[in-house]
Symmetry: C2
Subunit: 278 residues, 2 copies
């Protein structure tokens, strides 16, 4: 094998992830679904290079009624961090049913999940999120891990769960557009940016913002070169067939109707804010 430079080694290593050899999976995940796939190409000589390797511990939280894409988007980006360990954490190891789509199998429980973690990601939902905002096991897990985590983060209405755990007090944050203003009632300063970094909090906007959120975190953890390679691997050059993804770009009637129809959800979430309770 000819000598390779730093950049080539990094990309060599990253390319291996496309064949699913990158993120270590926890023992429970292995047990539930069989061994990982074999590597697609020869990784010898690459994994020992320290600059292409990290040792982040990433925890994606799931709860009944979470939105699958809120997890799957970030997971694609973060799962490509060579050397990182990615956990899917839930209260038990039973399959967890999202609001739509297939149940997924957690890899660890809140009790067994490591304590000193790099990143915890909380997804959104609607009814499931209202329940999560009152779930003491989940809230306790979040407040505990927040003591040591480099970043506590959320996608979509997952910010409401961080808020309910008291973890957005004094932070600038975003969420799904329909509940964004509500974050103020949890002590946060709402932002209309798609991804908001504020000290040790990172929050993303609604659902599909999880892709931008994940890629921005890869950039923050490993630098632009690495993140560019992940973007190219995932062909992340979006081309929506039309633009209606924000209250500003959607037809006003569409925005008004969705806002009206989600008023019940927004009301329930607001009632769980400290301001709502006092």
């Amino acid at each position: 094998m000819p000598p390779i430079d730093r950049r080539s080694a990094l990309l060599l290593a990253l390319a291996g992830s496309f064949a699913a050899t990158v993120a270590k999976v926890s023992a429970a995940e292995e047990t539930a679904a069989g061994p990982a796939q074999p590597a697609g190409h020869d990784m010898s000589g690459v994994e020992a290079l320290p600059h292409a390797q990290g040792d982040e511990t990433i925890v994606l939280v799931v709860y009944p009624g979470f939105t699958l894409l809120d997890i799957a988007g970030p997971h694609y980006m973060l799962g490509n961090l060579l050397g990182a360990t990615v956990h899917i954490a839930a209260e038990t190891l039973d399959p967890v049913k999202p609001d739509m789509g297939p149940a997924i199998v957690p890899s660890t429980t809140f009790a067994d999940c490591p304590t000193g973690v790099t990143l915890v990601v909380v997804p959104g939902g609607t009814n499931g999120t209202i329940a999560a905002m009152q779930d003491q096991a989940l809230l306790g897990f979040l407040t505990d891990r927040a003591r040591h985590a480099r970043w506590m983060t959320s996608v979509c209405t997952g910010a409401l769960v961080l808020g309910a755990a008291g973890l957005l007090q004094g932070y600038r944050a975003t969420s799904h557009w329909v509940v964004r203003d509500l974050l103020a009632r949890f002590g946060a300063t709402p932002s209309d940016q798609r991804v908001v970094f504020d000290r040790n909090r990172i929050t993303g906007g609604g659902v599909t913002a999880g892709l931008d959120f994940g890629l921005a975190i890869v950039d923050a953890l490993r630098g632009r070169e690495y993140a560019e390679a992940v973007a190219l691997l995932g062909e992340y050059e979006p081309a929506p067939p039309f633009h209606a993804g924000t209250p500003q770009s959607a037809p006003p009637n569409t925005t008004a109707m969705l806002r009206g129809m989600l008023a019940g959800f927004v009301g329930k979430a607001g009632a769980l804010a400290p301001e709502g309770r006092h």
Copy 2:
């Protein structure tokens, strides 16, 4: 309840999907993961309106080593089709492990999946996709359902599986950039569009193209108003932190390295083309 016009009814109905009441789930899916979440708001008087309802049968295929986001992106968009039935089909009902991330629980088997379907979506991967291209149970399922399906479709390297099933012969199609040219060896005309509609085939580019693909299909099935509401629900107004998602926008070295590192995968896939076998 005051009278509502056609548009309002459609959006009322759609808003319910945010609370996870839209897509019917199959009996097997219910059994594996418990009952669906309750509705977040009163849907009475809306579901009976025919114009907000469809009756599509959508099948998302999974196989060991598939890429989770190839399914999760389209699922978010298509799962918001009120009245549609969405199946996650695999050879058995055992959890299926993607190339990265949590195992998912199928809702039906190839044997039990309905025959007359609207849409079949085949996801990509790398090693798992090479295996899928030779999996007679999967290929037989695809060729059988293709006889009656309105559309046979793929995301990312899933196009290689359609190709291996002989289903791209004479069609214009796309795939992940690293194997796009290879589609010619399966009788297709490669396109560099992110989403390609050609008669009863729809193909999407790499991984994240599944979101554009899914939204374009919602548009085709239900029209622009409905699709705009889905885009707003999912806040689909992407804002990548930088642009490196195509061989044209990525640094040339990054593209060259990934291309080199994936050459083994591309070679294996090419060897399975009819042209490669003869």
